[in-house]
Every structure is written in C-alpha cells, then in structure tokens.
Symmetry: C2
Subunit: 549 residues, 2 copies
Amino acid sequence: MARNILWIMCDQLRFDYLGCAGHPTLKTPHIDALAARGVRFTNAYVQSTICGPSRMSAYTGRYVRSHGSTYNGVPLRVGEPMLGDHLREAGMDCVLLGKTHMIPDTDGMARLGIEADSLIGVRNAECGFDPFDRHDGLHPSEHPGGGGEAYQAYLRAKGYEGDNLWEEWTNSADGPAGERLNGWLWAHSDKPARVAEEDSETAYLTDRAMAFIDSAIAKGKPWCAHLSYIKPHWPYLAPAPYHNLYGAEDLLAPVRSESELADPHPLYEAFTQERHALTLCREGGRERVIPAYMGLIQQIDDHLGRLFAFLKDRGIADQTVIAFTSDHGDYLGDHWLGEKYLFHDASVKVPLILYDPAPEADATRGTTSDALVEMIDMAPTFLDLAGAPPKPHVLEGHSLLPLLHDPKAVLARDYVFSEYDFAADQVRIKLGTSVQESRLTMVFDGRWKMIDCRALPPMLFDLESDPDELFDLGREPGYGMIRARLFDAIRRWYHDGRNRISCADTDFTQADDLLRIGADPVLKQGVVIGYWDEAELATAQALFARAGG
Amino acid sequence: MARNILWIMCDQLRFDYLGCAGHPTLKTPHIDALAARGVRFTNAYVQSTICGPSRMSAYTGRYVRSHGSTYNGVPLRVGEPMLGDHLREAGMDCVLLGKTHMIPDTDGMARLGIEADSLIGVRNAECGFDPFDRHDGLHPSEHPGGGGEAYQAYLRAKGYEGDNLWEEWTNSADGPAGERLNGWLWAHSDKPARVAEEDSETAYLTDRAMAFIDSAIAKGKPWCAHLSYIKPHWPYLAPAPYHNLYGAEDLLAPVRSESELADPHPLYEAFTQERHALTLCREGGRERVIPAYMGLIQQIDDHLGRLFAFLKDRGIADQTVIAFTSDHGDYLGDHWLGEKYLFHDASVKVPLILYDPAPEADATRGTTSDALVEMIDMAPTFLDLAGAPPKPHVLEGHSLLPLLHDPKAVLARDYVFSEYDFAADQVRIKLGTSVQESRLTMVFDGRWKMIDCRALPPMLFDLESDPDELFDLGREPGYGMIRARLFDAIRRWYHDGRNRISCADTDFTQADDLLRIGADPVLKQGVVIGYWDEAELATAQALFARAGG
C-alpha cells in the first residue's frame, strides 16, 4: 500500500510551548514521542504571521507575494495552484478536516463561470482540499454563515440546546450565579468551557479524523489528510479538566525588557498600544490566559495520543507519514505584545516535526535540525513523498525529505522570508501610511533578522548576540552593510518569485542541446529569423537536421 | 452616443521612425496629423522588449512580474484580469482585429473546467478580447494551427492559389527566373512581395477594421477596438510599391560606437553575437533591410489615412478616441544589435500618440509630453474614458487622460520598468546562468537607466551626458550611489506589485472612520479579540454603536 500523509496543524501554537522544545512544565508526551521518532526542526518559519495568508502559503507552497492573499479575508485568487491539485495529479487524495481560513474568490469564479457547487468550485473554495469536515472555529451569532454547521449538528445530536451551540456551550463558561459567561473575555480563561471535553472542538475533530481514516482504508487509495485544529488559538477557554491543569507557577518568564520601550520603532510602539497587547500585559493578564493556552495544548496532545494509537490499531502507522506544525505563534506578553503580526520568534517561528516511518529515515530519528525551513516546504515535501516530480516553476519551497533521510544533507537556502499586511489595522491609521506601504517583509539568515517596513525604517535584530530580540538595530549606525545585504536579499527574493506558473522551467531548457551546438530551435516551426540568404539558411537547416532537431 | 476607442498598435515600430518623431526622410503624414490633433509622448516605454510579454502587459495593465507571461509562448495564466473584463463591466465592447501573440493557458483552463469554445473560454484564449478577426501573422507551413485562417480564406476567395497562401504570396517574392524567393531571407528585402498591396496584411486588417466599425454602428454600443497590425515586424518584405520607396540614402546613421565593443558587458556582448545582429551589421545589411522596414511603415500610414477618412465619413470621428503605439522597437543595427531584447531606447521606447476629440483636450492639441509613461497606462486610460472607476489593486499604470486635458498635469511616477527573460535564448547557454537568473529588469528615471542582470553586474547609462547610450557605467567606480538608489527603486517596485487582485484597496480602508476614533470594526461580526471583561467590552460596544458601526 502506498504511503499516506497526516498533516497536523495547530493554530497559534508557539514554537517553544512543547515539552520536546524545552518547555519545563508543559506536558506533551505524545508530541514528544513523535519528535523522538522523527526530526524536529528548530528553525521553522511561517510565511505570514496571521492565519489566512500563512495558511494560503502552506496550501499553495508559495510566498504571500506570489499568491496575493495578504490578509485574513482576502480571497485566494481563483486558479492559484494548490497542494490538492498537485497531489491528485500524483494519484493521492487530499482531504480537509478542520480549519483553513480560506475565503473563496467568488468574483473570480463568477468571471470564469465556475459553479460554486461543482467539484472544481468546491475545491477552489476549500484551498484545493476535498472537505471531509471543514471547521474554522469562531461561529458567533452575529456572523451567520461562518461555517461549523456539522459541529453544530453534532452538538445538537448530543443533546446540547440553544441557537448557536458553539457560542453558548463551546465558548461559554458558567458563572457563580448560574449565568452564562462570555468565553471571548480573557478574565474568564481560568474557568472551564460549558461543553464537555469529549464534545469540544479538539475532541470532535480528532473523531472526525478517525472517521475519515476508516473511510480511506475502505477506499484503499493513498491520502493526504490535513487535520487542522483551531486550538490553542483564542478564545482561550478550555473544557474541564484542561482549564486548570496549569497555574501561574508553570509560566515561562516573559521575554521582554523595559529597554524595548525606550526610543521604540514607531510600528513596534503602535503594536504595543493595541488592546490585545495591553490586556495581556496588565497585572495578572498572562497568569490568567497562559494556563488556559497550555491546557488547550495538552488537550491536543492527549487526542493526538488517541489518534496515533488508532493508526497503530488500524495497522497503518508504518505507512503514514506525520507532519506536526502550526500556522503562527502567539506573543503571550513577550516584547509587551499580544497576538502575533510582528516577526519576533514568538510570533513567526513554529514547531515542526516530521516523522517518516520508512527505514530510510532511521538515521535521523530523534534528532533535531536547525536548517532554515519554511512552511512552503510542506507542499514540495508531500509531492516528494507522493513520488511526483517537483514543480519549481510553481512551488517556492524545498522538499525536506533529504533532511529526513541523510543527517548530512544540507538545504539550499540562505534566507527565510515572511510577510504581514497591516493595512486593515488601526496601526496604519496611527502611522499614516498608505495601503500599499503597509506591507512588511521579514528576512532572516539564521543570525540577522531584518523587517523591511517600506515607508518606515527597517527593524534589525542580531540573534547571535541578542537571541531574545530585545535590541532593534534597524536605525543604529554601524549596521549599514548588514542592512544593505539584507535589502539586496529581499530584492533577489522578489526577482526569483515563481510567477511564470503556466510554463515549466524545462520548457525553457528543452532546446538546450540544440542551443549548445549553435543550432536554431525555431527552425522546426518554419520560423526563420535573421538569415541573409538561401546559403546561410541551408547551412543552418543542415546543422539542425544533424542535431536531430 | 458614448465615445469609442480605436487602439492602433504596430509591431516592432521604433519610437523614432515617424515623421512627427523627427525622422528626416520617412513619410507618415496621417500619423503626423494625428499627433497634431493629439498629444505625442516622447518617453513611452513598453514593459517587455518582445511581443508576447509586452502585449500581455498592454492587455492586462500589469507588469510582467505580476502577470507572469515572461516570454513569447508562455501562456497568460487563466484568471488574470484583462482589459476586456474591465471595459465590459463598464458597458463597453472590447474587440480584437489582428495580433495579440496570446497563448491560452489550456492546462489552467482544463483544471478550472473552462471549455475552450465557450464565451469565457474564447475570451481567456484571446487576451480578454472578443475576436472579430485574430491575425498574428507568421503562418509558415511547418507550423500548422498558428491562426490566420480568415486571411487565408480571404486570399483564396481573391483567387490566390496554393497550400499556404501567406507563405507562398504574402511572404514570397518572385525570382529573376520566375522562381519563388523566400521572404524570410533579408537578402530579398529589396524585392516586392508576390501579394498585391490591396491584399497584404496591412490592407486586409484595415478593411476588417472598417467592417467591424460598420457592424458596431449598427449595434449602437460603445466599443474599444484593438487594431493590431503585424508590421513593420519582420519578415521585412513589402508589397509594391512600398518595397522601393526608400533607399540607402534615406537611412538614419546607425547609433553605435566601436567603444561599445571594448570591454563589453558579457550579456551585451553575447547579444551582439546573435545571428540577427551579425546579419544586420554585415556590409550592406542595414541598407537592404531598413528601406523595406520604412516602406512597411509608410504603408501603415497610408491605410490609417484611409481609416481616419472612413471614421469621418461614418460621422464618428469626433466620438472616437485614437491611441497609436507599438509593442516594442527594433535595433536595426544600432549598438551592433538586431531585433530587440535589450533596453536601449531603440528597443524599449515606443511611439505613443493619444487623440481625444473632446473639447477638454483642446488645450493640449499638437503638443508633446515628456512624462515617463508606460504601456500599462493604456488600460487605466481606457477605463477612465469609459467612465469606470480605477482599479488600483489590479491595474499598475495610471490614466493619461489628465495629461490630455491639462498641459500642467503631472504624472505621479518616478521610474519606468521593463523586463526581459532570456532563459530560452542561446545567450543563457553562453553565460551559464540558470533559468531563474535569466531575467532582466530595467529601471529608468528619465536620466539614469539601469538594467539589473541578477547574477551578472548591472548595466547603467546616463542619458543626460550620453543620450545615445554608448557608455555602460554599470561596472564603473564612482556610480555606486546611483546604482544603489536604482536597486532600491527596483525593490520598492517589487514590493508595491499589485498581487492582491481579489480585494480592492477600499476593502482595507472601509473601516477607517471607526479605526480613527479607536472603535473595533470586527465587533460587528461578534468577533471579540483581546477584551478582559464585560465592562471593557461594554465600553467598546458603546463606542462602536455611537460611531454607527
């Protein structure tokens, strides 16, 4: 039987909130065991610091500057090639369980006459996946049509009562007088959700994954399943018993310094004034929120333990490659910030574990890799696993399979890149930048991390001398050469963007043998350019014929 | 009656081969008269120096780095928005007569389930135009299916006999012994084509334009017609009497210097070794080819005189805006080069005349403008003429209408850009660059022109001290600051690329009034991010309600 791919993605899970990543108190034994069987990447970067664009990069294998979905809610343009398109060509199903944050390009689909309910229409609306169960989380009453119908139906079948069961049960807690407390509010993060743990979103999605796997076994075709949990993303509200497994004593100390607030970069300063930053940094804020965040992570770990046992029970554990990662991090009060958006490691670096059960990967089991990897490497890795040829004219990442099979393998990458578009944020109003100027580009070479802020000075951090990224050197004299080199790297990165998606690189090299001997490839079409007379043309035609053109 | 747009494009017509552009011997009285009625732009640049990508930029209003069709034969990706899409939204027909060099993205269309013979399929295969008569020229026998069926049928109906009538009549001359001479060969450029002038491509396309206009008058709907001549592009073979209107004495002196060949840039040197360059620069080469090139231009001028008289005769001359331009130039032996590809003005600068019959344009009639304009300005100009709102998230140029209506108007542009992809050329083999590295980017600020050659040093010309572009300063010390500024301009140009085509800029600014007073726009969706407790949320909701959110 051909191999399957189980691609597990958490939402807003920081790179360092796992036992195997060194967290001293958080318990994630099943994920740690996965790392012990596979390779854990310690320098894995997402291509944007918020859900939508980061995921569009994950699902297309392309940078944001290429796919163009720069922000949550920006539809992925119709026709942008997606992982599912590539895997299906290679004979592999590609299925969704959970969140994508995809917004379909309904205008583009209408312009091209694509019916929303056709198979092509559904796949174009679901990031190229066949949706087994799409569940994006966040189904407030004021936002009807946001999806989650299957989960709502599940809850109703289990006996939950109300109009919006997600809001009333999954995102609510019980108050002391029996009143319903709003789970969006971080003051309530120490309370349990009203929903039973077994009916929470993490449990539900894990059950759905098992149902999918059983259906796939019956179908007998190799698959790539994207199991995409919406947690530990806010609302920071965990079902019992996960709401109080951790306390203030279990927290990592915040990574921040008063010096960051002295003469700050205007963009950084504006983000420190955002509500989520102020709320997390208030007295007791982190102590209220982070234990729930940790509980939600441990809950995922427990369910992954259940799922990994299920794979073994079904006899397909040794045929199933597992990838575990996240779409971006969470500042959690580090750098006086909440949420994500900017490019400190807490936000832009994610956990990444790859487990390949094949004997070829035995040499790397339990190791870590500090190679500079990017989320756009997932699609080429999966294509490689499916035995499909690479598509370097479309996919902008690299297969990581060589790193799993050879401890000495080196990835051909000097820089990682990430982007964020703050045009819809209040920050743009404060800074007075135009919509076009409100795009940030991060470049990181393993030591120096620079953020190109377009109309504003850059930010620059030296992670060798300043691993906590506390000293912004972007406006400091003495670093001009470093900044110039990184600006050059950004220009070359733009230059090398894969925009010529309709034509393979090999289409440009297919005539190389003719060109090397000076023969004229277009003669075969009868197109005769730049010849003086019959004699010159006859000579060229003879050369062309001898070359077998 | 609403106004029409007649968009005339020549192929491979240099900026300086018109009487009104200062050519001392070439006669183009009808084009000169158009310039006297309109505005002639003396700094008009195309976005690529060969037909396909230059035209894809013209028809999409987007740079090559955005639309991705980097070379002749690279399909324009399906779903790329085109001029016709925008004009039809504004209630204007958009029709093709002649050449586009478009290659449809059949793989992409199949992936999206678009039938080639559906209306959407046809438009996606024809650059967004409704084809009244597509005629790309170049229909050699060895290249069946290259189009031109309607012209072939026309010739046959007129009594021409043979298999491939384009090749046997339009692209052949009679030899001294009655034999047929190959019109591709430049040695024969002094002979007349076998086809009668009235049946040549230029005459045929002009007739077809008149037929279209009569049909449009009957329909009564405003139109944009792209009349796209394939001349004076090679084969350099004119029908009588245009084959011998000019002689060696009518040629401009070649713009070139022996100093260009001393220590040349490797890329430039490689292009000077291409066959078309060597053939044009052979003894007597220019003298044989250029008179035919000039004759083909005068032929176009004569037919435009016929067409302009027709517009007047039909009573729509004062309702029809006319644009006259070309898709790129022709070195014609300047700089020891033939054809185009590189970025000297002979190649990348084109004629551009805009005539607006409206009284608002009276103040600029007969003037020239030295504003830096680009071919991607055509689409926004036409949208402006159609009364449609601009689409700055898609269209990367500017409407030139303000320049026609106000002699003091200034275009908000500091640089023009052009690109060329030499990956399919023998030059790549000689230089040993990779496919990805074989893309050139030109930036020009009105004085300094730099070509970013990616893996090779840049080229740099100072058009103030060296208007003929004979001295490449790209590797000269003392110009580092100039080069650094232009490299920065290229990076910012990439940064500002309009890749977010599925979402208007106004979608990002619609909540600005809320953001200015510190209200939280996503509250209207019930999405509650970063609030601590009920009191804080109630305050925010009250602010939101007061703001009318």
